[in-house]
Structures are given as structure tokens and as C-alpha cells.
């Protein structure tokens, strides 16, 4: 590592030059474990179909493992980049993200949405990276002021910064991601010290926005149908609630210990549409039961807990805010994704972090986790070395 450090030193001192505490191994192990489990789950829900169609039952899993590998490398890489480096050009990060989000609108639509930009044989999904980029940009903005209070100006700027990508994501359309962006922004503003009044204004405008969305008929018909289906989960089981119904059958039938790896009929026989992506948790629930499902939830709980620990112990506000943003991102994804598979929240297309099939979300989140790890590594290893907290 030291060789690499020294080699890259000239590039602008982006790598730290002092000995640092070891990376947070717990985070790394849990992430890798979730990725491994995700790959196996992808296999379990695709091998029957792939064997039949192509004779190669492992292709989906192999692809997922490649993504996992890239994601882990990204994690290590961003871990090693000094996070303070990003603070030098938040505008650039934000700008590139916006360009990508605008660019995606010109790509060919798939499944009724334009979320992907083709890169070779892979599909690149800018909105996943936009979330992490926005976290970094917001963290930078929110810690720029020296005042104890957050000014209305900062608040307004932050909202504008969040609104622009939200609007672009909304055009794709991708309601789930838009909601994540909103949640991250509010979470970060709250921790960054917005006053109670500001929080109330945020809440009120959020409610007004939600009402406007319904009143103005902005939602697509499938989105309102999903919402109506969620409110009456016993209706239209063959139609709008098919996914939710089959998903609950899969998870419910797992009971305490599950039906065993590759033994779940719902998973094996592909009863659940989008099972490898948004509904990957159903494969865990069916095959490994309540024990497996709650273990996965526990893993995410530990990851989120680690992010909050970093946020609390970060050497500066910038690092702290990045950690807060990542914690908000991770917990929102986990809650909404698992929540929808068990009928707790309406169906929205949000991937389960590190597990759902697909590269963009996994790589972007692993990258974000790496940045937080960089924050972790830059904290003071011992209290008598205050200079370690200096930029």
C-alpha cells in the first residue's frame, strides 16, 4: 500500500500520508457476506429458467459476482482516497452527476422507463451514483458555514441542490429513488443543525408536495394502481397485487427455518417477477425462513450502526455528514425494499443494498461506504495526537 501511496502522492495528495487506524473490518465482512448471499439468491431464482433456456444455470450468478468484485474493489479504492479531497470540487461532482442524469433521458427506454445508459454490454444507471454524489455535495454545503445556526440561505440552496436531480429522476420515472433523495436531504439537514422551525417548514412543504403530486395527477397510472393495491392487499391478486401476493407467499411459506436452499417452489419456479432485483429478499425469506431473514435485517442494522458511529466520531463535519447521508440512504433502501416484500409499504423499485442483482447500485453504494471508511480511518487513533484531526 505504501508504494501505491507514494506513487500517487504527486497527483495531489489525495492519499493519506500518515499511518491510520485499520479499516472497519466489520463493515467489509458484512458487505462481502451480503454480496455473497445475494449472488447465491440470484442463482436460486434463475438456475431453473437459465438451465432450460440457455443450458447455463450460473450465468446470472456469475454476472452478479463480477459486480460484487468490482464493488468491493471500489470500496477499497474509495477507502484509500482521502475523503477531504472531494471537498475541493463539490461543484464538479455535482455537475458531472447532473450531466449524466440529463444524458440518461436520451437513452432508449426499457420497461417503460429510461434509467439506464448502455456502456458496452452493461447498463449504467446514473441515478444510483447521483445519490452518493449528492450526499457528498450536500455534506460539503452544509458544513461550509461557520455559524451555529443553519441559515435559510443554506437550507434553500440545499433544497435546490436536491430538487434538481430529483426532478430529473422523476422524469425517468423513478419514484423510489426520488423519495430516497428526499429522505437523505431531510435527514442530513436535520443533523446538520436546521432549526425546529426549518424542520417544520420542510415537513409542511413535503406534505404540500405530496398533495400536489396527487392533485395534479402527476403520478403514472401504474403508480396510483400500486398504491391502491397496497391499501387493499386482498384485491386484484392476479393483477396489480400479484407481485406483493406472490412475494408474501414466498416469505410466509419459509416460516421459521425456511424451505432450504434451492427448495423454495416460489423462487425455483419464478413465481415472483423481478425477484433477482427488487424482490431478492423473498428468496432469502422462502429458503432460509425467519432465521435467515432476521439475520439479514440484523446485518443491515449493524452496518447502519457503524455508519452512525463514524458520524459521531468523525474528525470533522464534512465526514460526519457524509456518514449521516450514507446511513440515511442505506436505512431507507432497506426499510422500503424489505417493507414492500412483506406488505408493509407500497411497491417501489428500490434495490436491496449489496444484494439485489445489478451493478450500478451495488458499486455506487460500496463506493459510498468506502468514503465513509476513509472518514473512519482518518479519525484520531489515539487522543493525544490532535493533529491527526487536522485537514
Amino acid at each position: 500500500m505504501a508504494v501505491l501511496d507514494r506513487t500517487l502522492e504527486g497527483v495531489g495528495g489525495i492519499f493519506e500520508d500518515r499511518p491510520r487506524p485499520t479499516p472497519d473490518l466489520i463493515v467489509f465482512v458484512l458487505m462481502a457476506a451480503l454480496m455473497a448471499l445475494g449472488s447465491v439468491m440470484v442463482y436460486s431464482s434463475t438456475f431453473v429458467r437459465l438451465e432450460e433456456e440457455t443450458g447455463d444455470p450460473t450465468s446470472a450468478m456469475r454476472r452478479q459476482m463480477i459486480f460484487a468484485g468490482v464493488a468491493l474493489v471500489t470500496y477499497v479504492a474509495t477507502s484509500m482516497i482521502d475523503y477531504r479531497w472531494y471537498r475541493r470540487f463539490p461543484g464538479l461532482i455535482y455537475g458531472v452527476t447532473m450531466v449524466a442524469l440529463i444524458g440518461v433521458l436520451f437513452a432508449a427506454p426499457q420497461k417503460g422507463a429510461t434509467r439506464w445508459i448502455p456502456v458496452g454490454t452493461f447498463q449504467f444507471q446514473p441515478s444510483e451514483f447521483a445519490k452518493v454524489a449528492l450526499i457528498v455535495a450536500l455534506a460539503s454545503l452544509l458544513t461550509r458555514e461557520a455559524s451555529r445556526r443553519m441559515s435559510w440561505k443554506t437550507l434553500g440552496t440545499a433544497l435546490l441542490m436536491a430538487a434538481a436531480p430529483s426532478f430529473l429522476i422523476f422524469l425517468q420515472p423513478d419514484l423510489g429513488t426520488m423519495l430516497v433523495v428526499g429522505f437523505i436531504t431531510v435527514g442530513m439537514l436535520f443533523v446538520a443543525g436546521s432549526s425546529i422551525r426549518q424542520v417544520l417548514v420542510l415537513g409542511a412543504s413535503g406534505i404540500a408536495g405530496a398533495i400536489a403530486v396527487f392533485q395534479l395527477d402527476i403520478l403514472k397510472s401504474y403508480q396510483t394502481a400500486r398504491l391502491a393495491g397496497f391499501l387493499d392487499q386482498t384485491s386484484d391478486l392476479q393483477g396489480v397485487n400479484w407481485n406483493l401476493y406472490q412475494s408474501q407467499i414466498a416469505i410466509g411459506s419459509g416460516q421459521l427455518v425456511g424451505r432450504g436452499l434451492l427448495q423454495g417452489t416460489q423462487t425455483r419456479l419464478s413465481f415472483i417477477p423481478s425477484q433477482t432485483t427488487d424482490f431478492i429478499f423473498t428468496a432469502v425469506g422462502e429458503q432460509f425462513g425467519f432465521i435467515g431473514g432476521s439475520a439479514v435485517i440484523l446485518a443491515y442494522a449493524i452496518l447502519i450502526w457503524r455508519l452512525l458511529i463514524v458520524a459521531a466520531g468523525a474528525p470533522n463535519g464534512f465526514g460526519s455528514m457524509i456518514s449521516v447521508g450514507m446511513a440515511a440512504l442505506l436505512s431507507f433502501h432497506v426499510f422500503v425494499n424489505i417493507g414492500m416484500t412483506v406488505g408493509l409499504v407500497p411497491v417501489t423499485g428500490l434495490p436491496l443494498p449489496f444484494m439485489s442483482a445489478g451493478g450500478s447500485a451495488m458499486i455506487a453504494m460500496a463506493g459510498g461506504m468506502g468514503i465513509v471508511n476513509s472518514v473512519w480511518r482518518s479519525r484520531s487513533p489515539v487522543s493525544d495526537r490532535p493533529e491527526a484531526r487536522d485537514l
Binding site: T265, G293, S294, I297, L308, V324, G339, D390
Partner: protein, 660 residues
């Protein structure tokens, strides 16, 4: 130390509680997930597992052969015959090959693809279409089965269909089959929409025994519904056999005699036309007769005309035929649904009331004392209303008569006087309804509880009923309510009383067997397809009525004199010496002109028993708007008694035109 460092320190101080709030929020969210997972997997898990299992299996029903219906001697009346039909299960037929498959099937059948497509659309119910309309022979069936691989979802099966062996004989008792209506589906929760069920008669009443239990083929399927493998087969259990109390031979004879009685009635009407052209009665079209065992309630024959063939419903009846039969009221089983005033046949009940309650015309205190059976009776009630009643012999007097003579000669004057005595002594007391109480006790104006569906209750008027009507259906009764005149009408079986012939049969049987009211029934036993008896339907006593043996003996004697020398004398002449064995009563319900100006002729009744000293059979005959009971109904009853008593059945000749 830079500004930035101070900034960091301060931020950490402010952020800590806010981070705590965030941590709480996240902990709460994940806890909710955890408990929801707990609920879905552990609390509701078993149910979801069941659904998961159902997801991957599909079953195809195998129809169970319906049980036979046999007569009391085991002669088969209704059975199940296998019929080859093509069945198309769309859940097993991928949509993209549907056209190809139907074309291939049409080629095999030698039909155009359009015909096949139309038949599929017409007969489909849910996912399954059963093409009953195409006649399939064994060769065609073999050809289809051979090409199974290229005809997914298409099968040939031997579908058991109903076959009736006796044409229209006993049609009303047997009933018919049909596809369940929405009401049936609600009534019978286990029924599906494509399996015919019993809709009428025994087919309906004993459906649960007759239908058996369908079997099924169970397949494992993929989410698209394609069959992966057959997991198992459950064989169908054939339905049970229902053995009736009816006797095919008695039934056939009774039905024949009934048609003869209708012919006789129409012949009489033609001669009548010449006499009284202004009151031309419409031709006689409907009649019914019941033969029941007096001491068991077992029905030997139950005929109702017009009738229908149950077979026409198999495979679906066309609309025109159905409407034609409906218009003729062919589905009405008049024995249990034809409600008519029982007329003078009801006098038997008034007779029993008079003797048992010791109430006679004014100035008379025993059944032996006589009064003048005058041509008419004028009576002024306490409210000053005056009524003038004419006996059927008007303008002649029928001489001095006691109770016995009055029954024999069907003298209305005597029974009206009995009603007036009751009215004078008991009006507006709880004893004023004594006649109705006796009537109700022996089964008049209430369901007989016969084991057939859609029995009518009839009406037996009294003060209470009139008050109910005044409240709910005021147009049915006059404002004054129940009056003495109503009671006078009722005691001779007119006015506020209508009954079914089966009710009258039950009433006569109950009185003449000494007071035991049996439930009339058409089924004797439930048996397996192999004839093993599963359940015997024993005679069931509904109630016992306290009638003194002297009353019963006296009534038996007087009913004998009705056929020997009374209103039915001429009708029963052909019975010769056997007339000693028979007793009964004629009845002729008044003719009337309805609100549309249509003239309705009298309804002819005869109810009687034999042998009179130890009654075995009760016979009730009713010819709807058929004329006089003595002239039309009594001869038909005579012929039935001839058959029951084992003597030669002689042709029907008109009896005495009495009681009108």
C-alpha cells in the same frame, strides 16, 4: 488550530442528540421490519405455505356418476350413462398455440375451425369448455388421444350424463337436472358452476346423496400453467341410489286414469255448452292424483298433469321448449303446489269437529237428530248484516237430514248451521276457531313436510290471519275483519281456505287411521350403487291427534254411504260389491268469473280411503276447473280404487253432477 477545527468541535456537540434521534428512527424502522417478518413468517406462515403448495399444483375434476333413482321394486327410473365428450382446459392450453390446436381439433372432427371456436366460447365455464354438442365415437376419441402431444389441454372423457328410462312418467316426482343458478351456488357452497345439480323433485331433494364425490387428477404445473407431471389421481365416488316409495305400475295407471278424467271432463263441458252458452268454461287442462299409504305416509303414486320429460333438461333445454312447458305450467306438481278450495271434502273436518266438540245446529244435540236441508238459508247477524245462502239443491229441498245424511248428501245447510252454532256460542272467544284447530291438527293449511321441494302451505283463514292481512296486505280482506260469514264459508271448504291435494290426503289418512299424522314421503331408502342399504327412511309421525274411536267409526260408515248412496253413488257403481270396502267424499269448489271476465269452472275433488274398516290407501283426486266432484273426480278415484283392490279397471263414465 484553524477555524475549521473549531467548527468541527462545535458541530460534534450539536450533532450528537440529532444523531441520536436519527438512530432511534432507524432502530424503530428496522424493528418494525423485524416484527412484520415475524408475523408473516411465523404467525401467518402456515397459511402462506398452503398457498405456496396450491400455486404449483393444478387439479382437474373427474365427474362422479350420479346415483340411480329406483322405484319401490327396484325398477330403474333415472341412471347415469357415460357419454364421450371433448373437454378443453385453457389453463393447460398456451394462448399462442390456441388457434393451431383448435384448427387441428376441427380437422379431426371434420368441422370448420369457426364451429369449434364458437362451441368453445359457448360452453366455457371458467377455464374449462365441455363440448357436449359434438357426438364423439370411440374411433374419434382414440384419434384425439393419440395426438395428445399436439393437442395440449384437449382431452376426451367419458362424462356421466343423466338418463331417464320412463319418459315423462313420474316426471314431477323425479324432477330434473340443470346448471346451478346464482341462488343455488349460494345455497350449496361446494357446488361449482359447470356441474349440473338437481333442480326439482327428488333430484333436488336428495341431491347430496345422488351426486357422489368427484375425483380429480392432480398435476404439478409451472407459473404459466403448463403441466410438468401428474402427481396423483383421486377416483370419484359414485352417488348413492335413492329408492322411492312409488310404484311404477301404480303410477302409470294413475297417470293414465288422470288423462282419462280430463277427457271425461272436457266431454261433459261440450254437452254443457249447449245448455248454457253464456258461461262457457275453458277446456280442462290440469289434474292431479295422489295415492298414499294411510299408516306409513309412503306415497305410492303422485301424478300431475300436464307433465314433462326430465330428459329434455339433460345437456341443456332450449329456450322455446322451456317457455312452452312453462306456459302450460308443466313444471307445477299440483299435488303439492296446486292450492284450491277443498270444497265439500273439507266437511269431514267440520263433521269431526261437530261430533268431538258436541256442537250441532240450533235445537239439535246429537248427530242423530235431523233438521230440514232447506233450499236456502237466510241469516241476520248481530251487526244487522243479512246473508242469503243457497244449498246446491236449490230450489229443491233435500229433506230432513241428520249429520250422517248431511255428509252423505253433502248438505251445506246442515254444516252452515253448525258454523252458526259455533259463532253464537263462541264468537270472539278463543274457541271460535275450533274448526280451524282441528283442520290444522290433521294437516290442512300447513306444510305436509313431504320430501319434495317447493311445497305450498295453503291458507286456512281465521281471525288472527285476517288481522295479519289487515296489517300487511289490507287489499286482501274487508275492513270489518273476520265475520261469521267467513266461518260459514270455511266449514264447507270455501272462502278463506285453499289446500293442496296432498294436504287433504294427509288429513283423511290422519283422521281415518285414528289420529296419527304421518309425514308423507316419496323416498324409502338410500342405498349404495351395489344395492346395500345405507339408510332406511322410516315412517315419521309428525303428531298425534286425539279423536275418539266412535267418531272415526261413525265417519267411516258415513263415508261409505257417500259412495254407496250419496253424491258419489253413480261414480262408484262400477266397483260392484267392492264398494263396501271404499269410503270417501266428493267436493266441488264454486265456479266463478274473475276480474277479467273469464269464467272459471268448478274444481272437482274426491278424497277417499280403502279398505274402509282398516284403511290402507288414501286417494286424492283434483281436477282443476274440471266440473263437479261427483261427476269427474269420483269416477277417476273409483278407477284408481279398482286398480288398488285388484279388480278390472273399467272406463270412466260421468258420475252424478252434484254440489253446484
Amino acid at each position: 488550530m484553524s477555524d475549521r477545527k473549531r467548527l468541527d468541535r462545535r458541530e460534534q456537540a450539536t450533532n450528537s442528540w440529532r444523531l441520536g434521534v436519527l438512530a432511534l428512527l432507524f432502530t424503530g424502522a428496522l424493528s418494525i421490519l423485524f416484527f412484520r417478518l415475524w408475523f408473516v413468517q411465523l404467525a401467518a406462515g402456515p397459511e402462506w405455505l398452503e398457498e405456496a403448495d396450491q400455486n404449483i399444483v393444478s387439479s382437474q375434476a373427474i365427474a362422479s356418476p350420479r346415483g340411480d333413482i329406483v322405484d319401490r321394486n327396484g325398477i330403474v327410473l333415472a341412471t347415469s350413462v357415460p357419454d364421450l365428450v371433448i373437454e378443453i382446459d385453457r389453463s393447460l392450453l398456451p394462448i399462442e398455440v390456441e388457434d393451431d390446436v383448435l384448427q387441428r381439433l376441427a380437422a379431426i372432427l371434420g368441422l370448420s375451425p369457426v364451429e369449434v371456436r364458437e362451441a368453445v366460447e359457448r360452453t366455457r365455464s371458467g377455464e374449462v369448455a365441455t363440448l357436449t354438442e359434438f357426438e364423439i365415437d370411440a374411433d374419434t376419441a382414440y384419434l384425439i388421444m393419440e395426438q395428445r402431444a399436439t393437442l395440449p389441454g384437449v382431452t376426451v372423457r367419458a362424462l356421466p350424463v343423466r338418463g331417464y328410462t320412463q319418459g315423462s312418467l313420474m316426471g314431477h316426482v323425479l324432477g330434473h337436472m340443470g346448471l346451478p343458478s346464482p341462488g343455488d351456488l349460494e345455497r350449496l357452497p361446494t357446488t361449482d358452476t359447470i356441474t349440473p345439480i338437481g333442480k326439482l323433485g327428488v333430484e333436488r331433494e336428495y341431491d347430496e346423496f345422488l351426486q357422489g364425490t368427484p375425483g380429480k387428477h392432480v398435476y404439478r404445473i409451472n407459473p404459466e400453467g403448463a403441466i410438468l407431471e401428474e402427481i396423483g389421481t383421486v377416483d370419484p365416488v359414485p352417488g348413492a341410489t335413492v329408492r322411492l316409495t312409488l310404484d311404477v305400475e301404480v303410477q302409470a295407471e294413475v297417470e293414465r286414469i288422470l288423462v282419462e278424467a280430463i277427457d271425461l271432463s272436457n266431454a261433459l263441458k261440450e254437452t254443457q255448452d249447449e245448455i248454457d252458452p253464456d258461461r262457457t268454461p275453458p277446456p280442462t287442462e290440469r289434474a292431479t292424483a295422489v295415492v298414499m299409504e294411510v299408516n306409513t305416509g309412503a306415497i305410492l303414486a303422485m301424478a300431475s298433469y300436464p307433465t314433462f320429460e326430465p330428459q329434455v333438461f339433460v345437456g341443456g333445454i332450449d329456450v322455446d321448449s322451456f317457455e312452452e312447458l312453462s306456459e302450460r305450467q308443466a313444471f307445477n306438481n299440483l299435488a303439492i303446489q296446486g292450492v284450491k278450495p277443498p270444497a265439500s271434502t273439507f266437511k269431514v273436518i267440520t263433521y269431526v269437529t261437530a261430533v268431538e266438540e258436541n256442537i250441532f245446529p240450533e235445537g239439535v244435540s246429537t248427530p242423530e237428530e235431523t233438521i230440514e236441508c232447506s233450499p236456502q238459508l237466510a241469516h241476520r247477524f248481530e251487526d244487522d248484516s243479512q246473508l242469503l245462502w243457497r244449498n246446491w239443491t236449490y230450489p229443491e229441498s233435500d229433506g230432513r237430514q241428520n249429520l250422517h245424511d248431511a255428509l252423505r248428501r253433502s248438505c251445506n245447510i246442515y254444516f252452515w248451521e253448525v258454523a252458526l252454532s259455533i259463532w253464537r256460542a263462541y264468537a270472539r272467544t278463543d274457541r271460535e276457531g275450533m274448526v280451524q284447530e282441528w283442520a290444522r291438527a290433521v294437516g290442512v293449511g300447513r306444510p305436509t313436510q313431504v320430501d319434495l321441494p317447493f311445497e305450498h302451505d295453503g291458507i286456512l283463514g281465521d281471525r288472527q290471519l285476517f288481522e295479519e292481512w289487515q296489517e300487511r296486505q289490507p287489499w286482501r280482506v274487508r275492513a270489518e275483519g273476520w265475520l261469521g260469514g267467513d266461518l260459514m264459508n270455511l266449514v264447507v271448504g270455501q272462502g278463506p281456505i285453499v289446500t293442496t291435494p296432498l294436504q287433504m290426503a294427509v288429513a283423511y289418512a290422519s283422521i281415518l287411521n285414528g289420529g296419527t299424522v304421518y309425514q308423507p314421503r316419496v323416498a324409502e331408502a338410500i342405498e349404495t350403487a351395489d344395492g346395500e342399504r345405507l339408510r332406511t327412511l322410516e315412517p315419521r309421525v309428525l303428531r298425534s291427534v286425539d279423536i275418539s274411536p266412535q267418531t272415526v267409526a261413525s265417519l267411516r260408515t258415513d263415508l261409505t254411504s257417500v259412495v254407496r248412496s250419496g253424491t258419489a253413488r253413480r261414480a262408484f257403481e262400477d266397483l260392484g260389491g267392492l264398494v263396501e270396502l271404499v269410503g270417501g267424499k266428493t267436493g266441488t269448489a264454486q265456479s266463478f268469473t274473475d276480474q277479467e271476465g273469464v269464467f272459471h269452472d268448478s274444481t272437482a275433488w274426491f278424497v277417499g280411503v280403502a279398505p274402509i274398516d282398516a284403511p290402507r290407501w288414501v286417494v286424492a283426486v283434483m281436477v282443476d276447473e274440471g266440473g263437479s266432484g261427483g261427476a269427474v273426480a269420483a269416477p277417476a278415484a273409483r278407477a284408481i280404487f279398482q286398480y288398488l283392490l285388484g279388480t278390472e279397471v273399467t272406463p270412466l263414465v260421468a258420475g252424478e253432477d252434484t254440489e253446484r
